[in-house]
Amino acid sequence: MATDPLDTIFSALADPTRRRILEKLKSRDYTIMELSALFDMSLPAVSKHLKILDQANLLKKEKEGKYTVCRYNPKTFGKAIKWIDKQYQFWNDGFDSLEKLMDQNK
């Protein structure tokens, strides 16, 4: 079973090219050849990015005939968003309480 720890997801998403690749994959599946042309990158270069996204479980690579097709995995991305949301709430709640506390102690 593939694991998708958050640090792997966030590291994968930290790169702007990889975020752009994911953006593209959200609309439809792409082959590695298509992505290489689309991003004007060599096959090895685009493959390197795809490997990192694959390891983070953000996409799935599937063989279809002689092509490898990349498919976006929304479940993993959702997990990252959920964590961010929760952590954001953590700080936002703290700031709300801090504001009240400071106003009371005025």
């Binding site: 720890p5 958050l6 640090d7 966030f10 590291s11 998403l13 930290a14 790169d15 702007p16 975020r19 990192i52 968003i81 964590w83 961010i84 949301d85 952590q87 954001y88 709430q89 953590f90 700080w91 936002n92 709640d93 703290g94 700031f95 709300d96 309480s97 801090l98 504001e99 009240k100 506390l101 400071m102 106003d103 005025k106």
Partner: protein, 147 residues
């Protein structure tokens, strides 16, 4: 590959002078009263506000589970900036160490803008500061940014 990635930015203007706001982040008695999610209560608060000093905050969840935030201060500039490492114990999310950086900016004598940046980082350089990073999560930040 080593990355530092901003995951959250939280900005808030407080209608209080900068020195006063800054103090509320380093005084354990105050931190105990404001830190953490609304539904949590705070137990022990240990703060050693100096570079290398520890920070330990005990949080009690609504289900009475105990969760700690632990870390150490990496930078303190009086009235301007506080940075510390941040991990959840015992069973925090699998993120490795994270870094919290808080900037204090005086809007005027009676108003202070606080910007909190929570970053995932892989390495710390010898000065104890997180390495620089670029990009981040543009879209998510816009989505989550507190106006």
């Amino acid at each position: 590959m080593e990355h530092d990635t901003t995951i959250i930015q939280c900005k808030r203007a407080f209608r209080h002078p900068r020195q006063r706001v800054f103090g509320y982040f380093l005084d354990p008695a105050m931190v105990k009263q404001w830190f953490g999610p609304k539904e949590f209560s705070i137990g022990q608060v240990i703060l050693e506000p100096k570079v290398g000093g520890h920070l330990e905050i005990e949080m009690i969840t609504p289900k009475k589970d105990v969760l700690w935030v632990k870390g150490s201060y990496t930078e303190i500039v009086a009235n301007e900036k506080i940075a510390y490492t941040f991990v959840y114990e015992p069973d925090g999310p699998n993120l490795g160490k994270t870094l919290v950086t808080i900037h204090f900016r005086a809007v005027n004598d009676s108003e202070t803008e606080v910007q909190l940046i929570h970053t995932i980082y892989k390495t710390i350089n010898p000065e104890g500061r997180a390495k620089g990073w670029e990009a981040g999560f543009d879209k998510m930040e816009i989505l989550l940014q507190n106006n």
